[in-house]
């Protein structure tokens, strides 16, 4: 039986010389490449559990299909430790490697995402999630927490973040830098930041994605464009004498008859209006 394998007979012998002569260029004869693959999902975590490796030593991650974009979402000890749109990575391994670089922890694939993540993506509300910002400076994590405070379907100018996060002296560039350093764009709604007129800013996400996320949340860009053209940055209500950001839920229900546009906080103040307590435009 084995004699059959010994002889380099016939056409096999010819091919063999070529294969064997170039050890490094052998590459993948026979398509051996197709026989290399990842472990089954969850096997790695089962191994770590059985070995008794404590949970603080590693994270898990899963692929979560959001309504606008699919995300890798890593979590550990009940908190989100990192997330990003799938198409920003060359593949799962790229995400794993970047996660290791940033956090120092391995991210192992898990079948089930962190509870609450799917819902947060669907509803655009991530209030019941916790984030582990790792080694990020506290001032930066406060900025990111402020971004989380922007409600779904609303926009805030970058300058607003400074006062919200308790770093009023920070410049817009510094604030945006903090936003871009965030570990979980999309899940943390960085696309809800804008300039004075609500136009997208460099929040670290591709412009096309920002556009789609905003459209999904029902942000009316056309309405914003009209306000921008008229130099309107705030809307007041003639009945309540309160002024808001134009995308604030309260501003959107002001009837045409009572809507009073303002270009600046000072103008609104002069007219005897006070800032809204929900969207807090006072710092702008």
């Amino acid at each position: 039986m084995s004699g059959r394998y010994e002889g380099p007979g016939g056409p096999a012998g010819a091919a063999r010389a070529g294969l064997n002569g170039t050890a490094s260029a052998e590459g993948a004869p026979f398509g051996f490449d197709s026989l290399r693959g990842p472990m089954p999902v969850d096997l790695g975590i089962r191994i770590l559990r059985r070995a008794g490796v404590p949970e603080r030593a590693y994270d898990r991650y899963s692929l979560v299909e959001g309504p606008v974009v699919a995300l890798f979402v890593a979590h550990g000890r009940g908190a989100v430790t990192g997330a990003g749109p799938v198409d920003r990575y060359a593949g799962p391994e790229d995400f794993e490697e970047q996660h290791l670089l940033r956090t120092g922890r391995a991210a192992l694939p898990a079948g089930r995402p962190l509870p609450g993540v799917v819902g947060a993506l669907r509803t655009g509300r991530d209030r019941n999630l916790r984030y582990d910002y790792g080694t990020l400076p506290e001032s930066r994590s406060r900025v990111l927490e402020a971004v989380r405070g922007i409600p779904r379907g609303q926009l805030r100018p970058v300058g607003w973040l400074g006062a919200e996060a308790g770093v009023p002296e920070a410049t817009a560039a510094e604030l945006l830098e903090a936003v871009r350093s965030g570990p979980a764009p999309v899940l943390i709604p960085v696309h809800r930041l804008g300039d004075e007129d609500g136009r997208p800013v460099d929040c670290g996400l591709p412009a096309v994605l920002v556009e789609r996320l905003r459209a999904y949340e029902g942000i009316d860009e056309e309405r914003l464009g009209r306000f921008a053209a008229a130099g309107t940055h705030y809307l007041g209500s003639g009945t309540t004498r309160i002024f808001c950001y134009p995308t604030c839920a309260h501003a959107r229900r002001i009837t045409d008859r009572h809507r009073v546009p303002f270009g600046s906080v000072a103008a609104a103040r002069r007219a005897g209006y006070r800032p809204c307590l929900s969207c807090r435009p006072v710092a702008a």
């Binding site: 091919a15 026979f30 051996f32 089954p40 590693y58 670089l101």
Partner: protein, 189 residues
């Protein structure tokens, strides 16, 4: 890659081990799957391999952990685990060897979407041919071409001269080429 497994292992055993499982789990799984030929016990074999690795690492000094060649080292453990497993199996009357070709899912003869089925069928034929290969060729071929270990590493692992490994790999490939399952048009280009 600024952060390598051995460095991480030297600094922090638990985090390093988690990264070892993440980065090398796939290759250990793929190799053991092809060595044993059936997917039935592979997950157990992989778990066993890593648990042994963890126990061993716990006893190593940080310097020794930092000097590790993780892939070759893990596969040495994995090959031993698999050998022990085969030995246990042969003692049982049910299965005569670790390779159970009958269990392999052959797509041959199954009608399916043409293009994908063609690709899958090709892969399955290779899987089956590999499983039929005698052990002394299969082990070096798998270590060389699936694990992508160097000849010297394989020789170390199997405890034989480098020349022997080269010869076995090349004979193994020649044998695969002669398998009736792998038709010439498909494999040799």
């Amino acid at each position: 890659m600024p952060l390598q497994v051995p460095e991480l292992l030297a600094v922090d055993l638990d985090r390093g081990f988690a990264e070892l499982v993440r980065s090398h789990g796939g290759v250990v799984y793929s190799v053991l799957l092809r060595l044993s030929g059936s997917s039935r016990d592979v997950e157990d074999l992989v778990q066993d391999t890593f648990l042994r690795a963890y126990t061993a690492l716990s006893g190593y000094s940080p310097e020794r952990r930092g000097a590790l060649q993780p892939r070759a080292w893990l596969l040495a453990i994995g090959t031993n685990v698999w050998r022990n497993h085969v030995r246990t199996l042969t003692r049982r009357p049910v299965a005569e060897s670790g390779v159970d070709v009958g269990e392999l899912p052959l797509t041959d003869g199954l009608p399916g979407p043409e293009q994908r089925a063609e690709h899958v069928a090709e892969r399955e034929r290779l899987v089956a041919a590999l499983a039929e290969l005698p052990e002394r060729y299969r082990v070096p071929v798998v270590l060389r071409h699936i694990a992508e270990l160097g000849y010297a590493e394989i020789a170390d692992l199997l405890g034989c001269p480098v020349g022997t490994v080269k010869a076995q790999v090349s004979r193994g490939l020649a044998a695969l080429r002669e398998m009736p399952r792998l038709t010439q048009e498909e494999v040799i280009r």
